[in-house]
Symmetry: C2
DNA sequence: AGCGCCGGTTTCGTTGCGGTAACCAGGACC
DNA sequence: GGTCCTGGTTACCGCAACGAAACCGGCGCT
């Protein structure tokens, strides 16, 4: 129980990082270019974005397709494996919409003490 | 889109850390004592466990009940808010059971290059 | 007096994630 | 020759999470 391969550890193990979930969301509607990801993901720097994308490619969540044009064009696309995360992200979003305000209220009340 | 209060950010924001999900799992069947949590959560030190529990208490996910006995006895129990995370953790576990092997295979193939 | 139990705290150090800023390669365009 | 574009890389740094090990307070037991 509870080693890195344990199913219960998957959140911190793979999608607990800061940007992976948002990248999956951004690619939900179809392939996007590097620059098109930097826009909606406000605040991500190119370094962190490229690290995130590389890790996701390594794990088979996205495919990277580079077109030999100029200026260079690179597209990132969800694989079926990456797409399979969408229901999980939906569930997280639903939980958040319903319960996050309550959590924040509890935190604020605690801090007030 | 995608600030800390955005529902999509909830995984890293609150349950993306290493131990919170497992603590919720351990408390699923009922209240447990500090020492009873350290057992199944192999590898967690008392310091990290107490930090995790304190953060969860602050956010209203668990309640801490100290009995003034000796030797001291302290029990931790899920609140309704904490319990509401269970379906999300179930979904994560289900995804993991179904897809984690594929992810690991992709990673291994990538590392082989 | 000394030991053990429980539920921690303290100290110190390591690791890793994320961020800032500067730089780069190749071609197009002026 | 200089500048812009895309899609990055590199070097450096700070902070927070994580972890190992030692210690502690109160009581009961022997």
């Amino acid at each position: 129980m509870f080693d890195p391969m344990c199913p219960s550890s998957v959140l911190p193990f793979r999608i607990g990082d800061k940007w992976t979930g948002m990248v999956v969301r951004c690619l939900e509607q179809g392939p996007r270019r590097f620059g098109e990801l930097r826009g909606p993901l406000r605040g991500v720097t190119s370094k962190v974005l490229s690290e995130t994308l590389r890790a996701m490619e390594r794990d088979g969540l996205i495919r990277r397709i580079a077109y030999p044009e100029n200026p260079p064009r690179v597209e990132y696309d969800l694989t079926p494996l990456g797409r399979s995360l969408l229901p999980l992200l939906d569930a997280a979003r639903a939980w958040s919409r319903e319960h996050l305000p309550e959590l924040l209220r509890a935190r604020q009340a605690y801090d007030a003490d």
